[in-house]
Amino acid sequence: MTVSPTFLQWLLGAVTLALALLVILGRNPVVSAISLMGTLFSTGLIFFSVGAQFVGAVQILIYAGAISVLFIFVVMLLDLRPTRVRIPGRAPVYVFSFVVCALFFVAAILSVLPVLRNLGAIEILGLSEAGLDQGPVAISMQLLSKYMIPFQATALLLLAAVMGVVVLGKKNMLSERKQSEQK
C-alpha cells in the first residue's frame, strides 16, 4: 500500500523550498539567515508530520533554536552591508554552477525516484507502526548500541569545538601573553 503526501505536507514542502531559495537569493545576509531559520523550522514540522516527533523536536530545538541564532547573531554583529547577488564578470561561474546543479538534481530524481516507486509498492508496515518506532526509546537504543562509537566521537567533537571557540574568541591571546611577559 502506498501512501501519498497529504495537503499539509505539500504546503510545508513548498514553504520549505521557497525559504531555501530565499536563503540563496536574498541580498541582505540577515534576510538569508532568518529564512534559513524558517527553512529549518518547517523541515522540523515536516518531521512531525511523518511521525518522527523526537527528531522534529531536536531539529527545532538545536537547528532552528540554537544554530540559526548563532548565524543571525554573527551577521548582526558584523554589520554586513547588503551584497550583490550577481557580480559582473562572473556570469560564466553562475551559469556553470546552475547547470551542474540542475543536471545533478534531474539525474538524481530520475535515478532515485523510480526505485523508490518500486519500494513504495512493497511498503508493508502500517503508518502508525512505522511512526511509533521512531520514539526517543528506539532512537536511544540505536545510539547506545550500534552507533555507540560515533555517538561518543560526537561528544568529543563538541568538546573540541567548545575549546576551539574559546581560543578563537579570546582576543589576541598570544599578543596578550607577550605583553604580560614584558611586564
Binding site: 534576510v31 540554537a66 543571525i72
Partner: protein, 359 residues
Amino acid sequence: MSQLLWSSLLVPVLCAFLLTWIPVMLIVERRAAAWMQRRSGPNRVGPWGLMQPMSDAIKMIFKEANIPRKAHRILFVLAPALAVLPPFLAMIVIPLGGSVNINGQEYALQAFNVNVGLLFYLAITSLHVYSVLTAGWASNNKFSLMGGLRASSQMISYEIAIGICIVSLVMTYGTLDLREIVKLQEAGAGLPAWGFALQPIVFIVLWVCTFAETNRLPFDLPEGESELVAGYHTEYSGMTFGMFMLGEYAAMVAASAFLATLFLGGYNIPFVSEEALRQVFLDQGLHLTLASAATALLQFACLILKICFFMWVFVWVRWTLPRFRYDQLMDLGWKILLPIGVANVIGTMIVTYFLKRGG
C-alpha cells in the same frame, strides 16, 4: 468524532484562554505595583479601575504604528508577530485536564498529544529569541540592537541551564510525554508525588531560568530603560508594541503552565484522583460524558489556580527585586545555575541507579 476534530475544537478555546489572561494581568500588575508602592494606581475607569485594560487596548489600537524611515520594513513588522506566535504554539502541548468520555471514547484535554511534549515546549519557546533579535536589528537603532543582542545571549545562556535541568527531570520521570508526567504525579499518592518534592533543586533553578527566558524583572536587561531607553522595542508604537506586550504575558502564562505541569502536579487536584472524582459525579446520577466533562473542568480550574500562583510570583518579584547588572546576570547563569544543574544531574544519576537496583 475524530481526534483531529477534537483538537481543532480545542485550539480556539486555548487561544481564548491565553488571551483572557492579558487584560487580567494588565490590571493586576498595575494595581499590585501601586499597592506595593503605597500608591492608588489606575482607579478611574470603571468600578475600582477594572475597565483600565479596555481603555489601554483601545488606546493602543488607535495609536499610529510608526515605522521608522530607515528600518527594514518587512522584518520590522514580522518581529512582533514572531513574539506572539511561540507561546500560543507552546501551549498546545500542555495537558489542561483529564479526558472527556464521549461515546466510550476518551478525549484528552490537550490539543496536541505528542510523545515528546517536554522537548516540544523547549523547542518552541527557544524560538522566542528571534522576535527580540529581529526587532532589535530591524529598528536600525543602536539601543535596539544592543537590547536585541543582550537578549539573545541571555536567552541562549539560560536555555543551557534549562536543558541541563530537564535532563535530571527526565531521569526522574523516565518519559518526555507531558501527559505521562502529570499521570505520574497523580494525586492518589498525595503531595509527595509532585515534582517539586522529587526534584527541589531543579524546581528552583528552572523557576529562576523562567524569569530570564520571559525577560521579566529582575532579568529584563534587554529592555533596561535606564541604559537602553526601552531596548529592542524602542522604535515600536501602537499595536506593534502591544503585540510585544501580548507576547510577553502569553509567554508568562505558558511558562507558568509548564512549571505547574512539571512540578505542581499539572491539572491534578491534591489528594483526589481522577477516577475518584469521576465516580463522585457518577454517583450523583450524571451521564458518563457529563461526569467526565465536569471532572476535566474541575481539573482545569485547578490548573488555572496553579498558574495564578506562578503569575502572582512574577508580579511580586517584579516589584520587589532590583534589576541585575549584565555581568551579574551572565555569572548567575553560567557560574551558578549551570554547575548546580550539572551536579544535580550526577546526583540524580546515582540515586536513580541505586533505586533501580534496589527495586
